[in-house]
């Protein structure tokens, strides 16, 4: 069985974000880049299939050279090979553009199952996975917290309010993952794993290698554009109301009425 993991490199969630001078992007130096946590769950799920059924796991990523570090991390965890699409012409792609690139790349990689996070924690669009499935015309199962593959069928569990939904689809299929760290517990790479990862095959591809032209993707083709990025207003310090109970109540009502203007 061939499993392909769609993996995105994102800033570590603790990163102090600074907006760039263009007001539409963030400053990317001084950022620690990590594997998108939901993609990491997908890596873990794929590796469990490798452990139990001998699946061959390929990591596919779209991004600049630095993304190689994240691909190597996944290889260190146990994946077999990596493919990175790195082309300046892909910059500024919207979700559909990215999906086109990934779908084109997937035409050159054998797969029975495609897995990935249901969203990336950087721009939180929740779209690329679904679009890739659509472009490849394979069924898509979203928000998996459990995964089994049996007799050419993939089955997932998805939590819904107060219950659990079990969904099934024939292979080839696309599964996007939800859950949390505690659900998937992605493995910690062993040192021999890290050493071996340095020697595992990792291919870097350009748009032309995928049979795409720059006008199909990138900023020019983007239907969704970022017009402005703004930081949320910083939280104001709270106000502590002092005094006896009656005084406190009176003061609180006054503040809510005059300052906060909510009553």
């Amino acid at each position: 069985m061939d499993v392909v993991v769609l993996l995105k490199q994102v800033p570590d969630t603790e990163t102090v974000i600074k907006i760039g001078p263009d007001g539409k992007s963030i400053v990317t130096n001084d950022i620690k880049w990590v594997i998108n946590p939901y993609d990491e769950y997908a890596v873990e799920a794929a590796l469990r299939l490798k452990d139990s059924q001998g699946a061959h796991v390929t990591i596919l990523s779209l991004g600049p050279q630095r993304a190689i570090e994240s691909i190597r991390s996944a290889l260190a965890m146990g994946a077999d090979q990596g493919v990175l699409v790195d082309d300046p012409a892909t910059e500024g792609s919207d979700a559909l553009g990215k999906a086109r690139i990934l779908a084109a790349a997937l035409k050159g990689i054998p797969f029975d199952l495609i897995v990935g996070g249901h969203r990336a924690v950087d721009d939180d669009e929740n779209q690329v996975g679904i679009m890739v499935a659509e472009l490849l015309a394979v069924p898509h199962l979203a928000l998996a917290v459990a995964l089994t593959v049996e007799n050419g069928q993939v089955r997932i569990d998805r939590p819904i309010e107060g219950a659990k939904l079990t969904l099934e689809a024939p292979l080839p299929a696309m599964v996007t993952f939800g859950g949390a760290h505690a659900v998937w517990n992605p493995r910690y790479a062993s040192l021999p794993g890290i050493m071996k990862a340095k020697k595992k095959p990792l291919e870097v591809k350009k748009l032309a290698d995928l049979g795409l032209t720059p006008d199909q993707v990138g900023a020019a083709a983007a239907k969704v554009k970022v017009s402005v990025l703004e930081m949320p207003t910083p939280r104001q310090a709270g106000v502590k109301v002092e005094g006896d109970t009656a005084g406190k109540a009176r003061e609180l009502v006054r503040l809510l009425h005059e300052e906060a203007k909510v009553i």
């Binding site: 570590d12 603790e14 990163t15 102090v16 001084d30 620690k32 990590v34 517990n185 493995r187 910690y188 790479a189 062993s190 040192l191 021999p192 890290i194 050493m195």
Partner: protein, 685 residues
């Protein structure tokens, strides 16, 4: 047949040679088992090594640290003197007319006999004490999981020594009676105990006396030879192991763990998962163990009911190395054929997980109390870390909470995972510059993770800034450029992560040409001082208590404001036992007017770990009957202090948690010494 006459002397030579032969074969096997281990150089400073043998073996310096050690002192010296006496007995076995006084002179022999008689009597008393301790008092530390086997073995040893002494006294007493027949051959004044014991033999005729002498002599000799053959199979293997183990003891700082070679790509396994992956010295440690139990008696994990007792660890490792080593040697000789069923089981027994349990390995706080009190210098901590290295680097097998903290170090270079870019934020608004702003300073103040990110730790950092500025010290910080030293990652066993952290930090510090460093965390202090030389970091490193004590001595700090408080001081493991800083923190405390210091029972080198060392700070403490920090807090509370003074950010957190658990956080306060000193320097308003 009479001893020393033909053919008895021939028979004696044969028996003696057979015993020696058996002993030689066993000793040779023991050495070959050691040589299955990895190489390690312990052949430097030979003079100092010999001196160590004189003081710690002959002088029993560590043994007599405890009252029960004096029992061992007498048995040990009794053994030596009696062995000298035994050589005379062997001489008699060769030739009946042999006697020391004939070759060594009468005065010397007279003194020797006096010593022998006294020490033999001393040994009897010590044996009584040993029996009392082992079978009646049964202190905790002499207990084992497989108690019966241990009691039996100890019984055999005690019994053998007892019979040996009785027979020796018998032989001496009869000798004295015989000497009355041939006057001038004995020393009644000095060997007075033998003389008194000879009374029951007084009415025997010479032939009967000779018969008795044969009996005593043969019994004594055979028992000694039997002892020689039995030693290597018993816990008295320590007689053979301890002396070389003291000789080959470690001179490097105990706070310096070995550096793994991660560059060599031919290496396929890291850490230790097989007994032959330990070095020969690490396995010699096992031979040396006397099972005295002082390690476990001082082990915070053991004393709070964790599945770790260093004594059991060493004992189990010893059993395993002897059994597996023997099989490996046989296998090496045979080359072919399948090992027997039992042998296969021993050979495939997992060192990590079976001989030593994972929970046992993870329970260690690396506090060093076991090593500090081991009379034969066994090095426990490196073994636990080596096994952790295997678990972490090879198996990624560790308590789940460890993964989070490892990730946090990887991404943000601090255990909480707080954004690394905010590391220097504590300094905002304070009188302190970064080295980037002003590299022309004498000292780097390496603040560390807790001092940079933890709210409580930041208060100590602030106090330090005040003190350093007040004393006019020229210093700077790294600010956001500072990174975690990696100490804890190393002790958790993640040598790979540690080495990448250490290489990076050493480069940053060296990039500013730093020569001297001050730290407030004993863990960072130990790591920078003793481990960073492995990464090109050769600096003069000061712990803040050490540095402040220096400033105090130079008169640059003058604590004047009275603090009328009762306090106790908790020695941090990595400051005290690891780096021998006991006086410096105390000198600071006694310099503050009004402070009344009282010491806990376990203080200085016996200090009881707060429970946070060795990465335990970042692991859940779910095993055992009590939490280590609460046990230590109780020990402090027994003195009814108003303040618990500490010198380590981890200890601060552990005590504050302990006080909360005892609902004493309002009445008893935990302060770092720097905070107390800063308070004492404030002018009263």
């Amino acid at each position: 047949m009479q001893p020393g006459h033909f053919p008895a002397n021939l028979l004696f030579v044969l028996v003696f040679a057979a015993a020696l032969g058996l002993f030689y074969l066993t000793a040779r096997k023991l050495c070959r088992i050691l040589l299955l281990g990895q190489p390690e150089d312990r052949f430097d400073q030979l003079g100092r090594r010999l001196w160590g043998v004189l003081t710690f073996v002959l002088g029993q310096r560590r043994v007599v640290r405890e009252p029960s050690g004096w029992g061992h002192f007498f048995i040990f010296w009794g053994f030596i003197i009696i062995t000298i006496g035994s050589l005379e007995t062997f001489g008699v076995g060769l030739y009946h007319g042999f006697a020391y006084w004939k070759i060594l002179g009468k005065p010397f022999t007279a003194v020797l006999y006096l010593l022998q008689d006294l020490l033999c009597a001393g040994v009897l008393i010590a044996l009584y004490y040993a029996i009392q301790r082992r079978y009646v008092e049964r202190p905790e530390r002499l207990r084992f999981r497989d108690q019966e086997a241990h009691d039996q073995e100890a019984g055999i040893i005690i019994g053998m020594i007892l019979v040996l002494i009785v027979l020796l006294f018998g032989a001496r007493a009869v000798e004295y009676r015989l000497a009355q027949v041939e006057p001038g051959q004995y020393f009644p004044l000095t060997a007075f105990i033998s003389v008194i014991l000879s009374v029951p033999f007084a009415w025997l005729s010479e032939p009967h006396l000779l018969e008795w002498f044969s009996f005593f002599w043969c019994g004594h000799t055979l028992l000694i030879l039997g002892f020689l053959v039995y030693i290597p199979f018993s816990k008295h293997l320590h007689i053979l192991g301890a002396i070389p183990n003291v000789f080959f003891r470690r001179f490097r700082p105990i706070g310096e763990l070995t550096k793994l070679n991660l560059e060599d790509e031919s290496v396929e396994t890291y850490g230790v998962s097989k007994i032959e992956e330990f070095t020969w010295k690490q396995n010699l440690d096992l031979y040396a163990c006397t099972e005295c139990g002082r390690c476990s008696d001082n082990c915070p994990a053991n004393l709070t009911g964790k599945p770790l007792s260093p004594k059991e660890t060493i004992h189990n490792l010893k059993k395993h190395v002897l059994a597996k080593g023997k099989l490996l040697l046989e296998q090496g000789e045979a080359k072919e054929g399948q090992p027997a069923e039992g042998a296969a089981a021993e050979l495939s027994k997992a060192l990590v997980g079976e001989v030593c349990l994972n929970d046992e390995i993870w329970s260690c706080t690396t506090c060093g109390n076991c090593m500090e009190h081991c009379p034969v210098f066994i090095e426990h901590i490196q073994k636990y870390v080596d096994m952790r290295r295997y678990l972490v680097l090879m198996e990624s097998n560790f308590p789940p909470e460890v993964q989070t903290v490892l990730r946090n170090w990887e991404t943000n270079s601090n255990p909480w995972g707080i954004a690394f870019a905010t590391r220097g934020d504590w300094a905002k608004g304070l009188e302190v510059k970064t080295l980037a702003e002003n590299p022309e300073v004498e000292y780097l103040f390496y603040v560390g993770c807790t001092g940079s990110f933890d709210e409580r730790g930041k208060k100590v950092t602030n106090a330090m800034i005040k003190l350093l500025n007040q004393a006019g010290v020229s210093f700077g910080i790294l600010g956001a450029e500072e990174k975690c030293c990696g100490e804890t990652a190393r002790r958790i066993g993640n040598e790979y992560l540690f080495q990448s952290m250490a290489t990076e930090l050493a480069e940053t510090i060296n990039g500013y040409g730093v020569k001297k460093i001050i730290t407030t965390c004993p863990h960072g202090y130990n790591c920078l001082k003793n481990e960073y030389p492995q990464f090109g970091g050769n600096w003069e490193v000061y712990h803040h208590t050490e540095f402040l004590a220096k400033l105090l001595k130079e008169g640059r700090l003058k604590p004047q404001r009275r603090l009328d408080k009762r306090l106790t001081f908790h020695d941090s493991c990595y400051l005290g036992r690891y780096n021998d800083l006991y006086e410096e923190p105390r000198s600071l405390l006694t310099s503050i007017p009004g402070l009344r210091l009282s010491e806990m029972e376990r203080h200085r080198n016996k200090s009881f770990c707060c429970g946070a060392g060795g990465g335990r700070m970042w692991m859940e403490e779910t095993l055992g009957v009590q939490k280590i920090n609460e046990a230590r807090t109780d020990q402090a509370l027994a003195l009814d202090p108003e303040i618990i003074a500490v010198s380590c950010p981890f200890c601060t957190i552990m005590f504050e948690d302990g006080l909360k658990a005892r609902e004493k956080e309002e009445t008893v306060k935990v302060y770092d010494i720097a905070e107390l000193l800063a308070q004492a320097l404030e002018t009263e308003k």
